[in-house]
């Protein structure tokens, strides 16, 4: 079974985002870049499948590849994925992809995937930077694949018959979905805690192949950007809550007065 995990790099969750000199760019200074956390869950899920298949005796071959695109720094995240246990990686390297829209990125990744062997495509349920969930779904559409989104865990993997059973939360209940492979699944956290890269993993990763692909500006432009980021704004800092003191009748009249005169909402 060949699994490909599509990963993106995002700023660390603790990053204080600053807007750059142009209003539609963010200031990259001081940002620590990480694997998009949901993509990291996808890597963990892929490695678990590999371990499971490796021990069930039916089929021992399972490979996990990573597919990523982005500027040079993306390589750090690819190396981390390889050190966690992925077998190889394909890296579409281009600085101009930094602000490419989800449509262009999915077109680009899908065109590369057409040259790759896979049974299962995994990715995160969303990107934590722009809160986008579009890329994997676009890819599934582009490749004509079945897709299941927001999957917490896999409850059954039938490598011989090429089927996988997914469990996802839906409105306080669980949906159990069985799909035939090839398919694309977007991953939620579930019960997974992404493994740390071990020393052995780091050593082995040195010998793993990162296939670098460069694309021309024309090729990227050919896909045709569908959206444009005009500007970024930081969320307004929340005002402190106002607490009214006194007996209930006094508090209520003070509240009504404030809503009418200060907040002007009634």
């Amino acid at each position: 079974m060949n699994i490909i995990v599509i990963i993106r790099q995002t700023p660390d969750t603790e990053t204080k985002i600053k807007i750059g000199s142009q209003p539609n760019k963010i200031d990259p200074t001081g940002i620590t870049w990480i694997i998009n956390p949901y993509d990291e869950f996808a890597i963990e899920k892929a490695l678990k499948i590999k371990e499971q298949i490796g021990t069930d005796g039916v089929e021992t071959h399972c490979s996990v590849s990573l597919l990523a695109c982005g500027p040079q720094r993306t390589e750090e995240s690819i190396r981390q994925g390889l050190a966690m246990g992925a077998d190889r990686a394909v890296f579409i390297k281009d600085d101009s992809l930094e602000y490419a829209d989800p449509y262009v990125i999915s077109k680009l990744l899908a065109s590369e995937l057409k040259n790759m062997q896979y049974d299962l495509l995994l990715s995160g349920k969303k990107l934590i930077d722009i809160e986008s969930s579009q890329i994997p779904i676009f890819i599934a559409e582009e490749l004509g694949l079945t897709h299941v989104s927001f999957v917490m865990k896999f409850t059954g993997i039938d490598a011989a018959n090429k089927k996988i059973t997914c469990d996802r939360e839906a409105e306080g209940s669980h949906e159990i979905i069985e799909v035939s492979l090839p398919a694309l699944i977007t991953c939620d956290r579930g019960e997974d805690f992404p493994r740390y890269a071990s020393i052995t993993g780091i050593m082995k990763a040195k010998k793993k192949e990162i296939k670098e692909i460069t694309v021309s500006k024309e090729e990227i432009e050919k896909f045709g950007q569908r959206t444009e980021i005009v500007s970024f704004d930081l969320p307004l800092s929340r005002k402190e809550a106002k607490i009214f003191e006194g007996e209930i009748p006094e508090k209520v009249s003070a509240l009504v007065k404030a809503l009418r005169e200060e907040a002007k909402v009634i």
Partner: protein, 408 residues
């Protein structure tokens, strides 16, 4: 005629390589997520953090610098310094546990041990199945190590060890100990006018050998969970193949072992200093006094600026010493400089952190007071600051001699 200019391929670089950067990111997360919170609890309870060691073992950190051949990671000493610093930022106790494992126990076995000893001990140390310790000091002698009273009598098939070793990190928790003992009888030393240190030998002693026992856990100012205690040897029969190196080579082994150890302790001290700086600076950015954030006051700024400069300087000293070791160069002076500078910096940084946090810094509500307590030992163990100055002085005098063409 045109001259071709040879361009040196590797210019001076301050950038970690890919493996080191990934290792730093990983161990930082590991330490933050698993050791930081617990550091306070084990400081209070004196409980040896076995689960921390086990996690490090699972990740291969217990074999970080041991060669691949014996199941280790074959990583360089810059990586070692990175790992110890990152762990120390979260928990100085866990940092010294690993530092002793790698540089005081595994490293001398790898450097001086026979193939059999390496097969027997290194693999288990690398996998973290064994925890290691190193025993040089005694209740009556520390810096004057050659004055040791622990004796090893050569009985043919085995050595008979008797004596008491003091201040042993990982003491009662370890499985395997490097023990330094006087193996030359006093009368021989006297008759041959051999200096005492030339009679010292190093042995690998296992915990379960008959006659090995432990004193009570020391109640210490800082790094309170590292199971420091006395190791007592009462007619312990050590097989002759457990002699490390040759008879009389022990003191040399101890000194070269401490050279490596000092990189670890410097890195541990640096981690404490960095943690103190991080805490004090973020506190200063939020705490208000006289109607503004205290970081706006120059009194606070200057304290933080001094720390920021010195932490950077300390890290460069450590990386220099580690890099020289990795290059196979002599690094005794550089390791001593790194250890001296960083350990004194750690105590200073802990002190400043408390000062900036004021009353809060003096309580256990914040980590500043623990950093201060944990820091002090780095000025004492693996060679006091005074010994570091002696080591540096000795090397400087030698270098001056070489420069002006006079023997030292």
């Amino acid at each position: 005629m045109q001259k071709t200019v040879e361009v040196e391929k590797e210019s001076l670089s301050f950038k970690l390589n890919n493996d080191q950067a990934l290792l730093q990111k990983t161990i930082r997360e590991v330490a933050l997520e698993n050791f930081k919170e617990k550091a306070r609890e084990i400081d209070k309870s004196h409980r040896f953090p076995r689960e921390n060691f086990e996690l490090l073992a699972k990740l291969g950190m217990t074999g970080l610098t041991i060669s691949e051949e014996y199941g280790g990671g074959s990583m360089d000493y810059v990586s070692y310094a990175i790992v110890i610093e990152e762990i120390a930022k979260a928990c100085a106790t866990t940092a010294v546990i690993l530092s002793v494992q790698l540089s005081l126990c595994a490293a001398p076995i790898e450097k001086y041990g026979s193939t059999e000893l390496k097969e027997k001990y290194l693999k288990k140390l690398a996998l973290g199945e064994y925890l290691g310790a190193f025993c040089l000091s005694e209740p009556g002698n520390g810096s004057d190590a050659a004055a040791m009273l622990t004796k090893a009598e050569n009985k043919g098939d085995y050595y008979l060890l008797n004596g008491t070793k003091a201040w042993v990190t990982n003491g009662s928790e370890a499985n395997v100990y490097i023990i330094l003992a006087q193996s030359t009888p006093a009368e021989t030393l006297h008759a041959t006018s051999l200096p005492k240190h030339k009679g010292v030998s190093a042995f690998i002693v296992e915990k379960n050998m008959l006659g090995v026992s432990f004193g009570k856990l020391e109640d210490k100012l800082g790094i309170r969970a590292s199971a420091t205690c006395q190791v007592r040897l009462d007619d312990v029969k050590v097989p002759k193949e457990n002699l490390l190196g040759t008879e009389g080579e022990g003191f040399k082994i101890a000194l070269s072992t401490l050279d490596t150890g000092r990189i670890g302790i410097a890195a541990q001290a640096l981690g404490i200093a960095q943690a103190s700086y991080d805490l004090a600076s973020s506190y200063a950015k939020t705490r208000e006094a006289f109607g503004q954030k205290i970081i706006n006051f120059q009194a606070i700024q200057f304290m933080l600026v001094d720390l920021a400069c010195e932490v950077e300087a300390g890290r460069l000293l450590i990386y220099q010493a580690a890099h020289m070791k990795d290059q196979g160069l002599k690094y005794t002076r550089q390791a001593a400089e790194a250890k001296l500078f960083c350990s004194e910096l750690a105590t200073k940084a802990g002190n400043i952190a408390i000062q900036i946090l004021g009353g809060y810094g003096y309580t256990t509500e914040y980590d500043a007071e623990r950093y201060y307590r944990d820091a002090k030992i780095t000025e004492i163990y693996e060679g006091t600051s005074e010994i570091q100055r002696l080591v540096i002085a000795e090397n400087i005098i030698k270098e001056i001699g070489e420069r002006i063409g006079e023997p030292a």
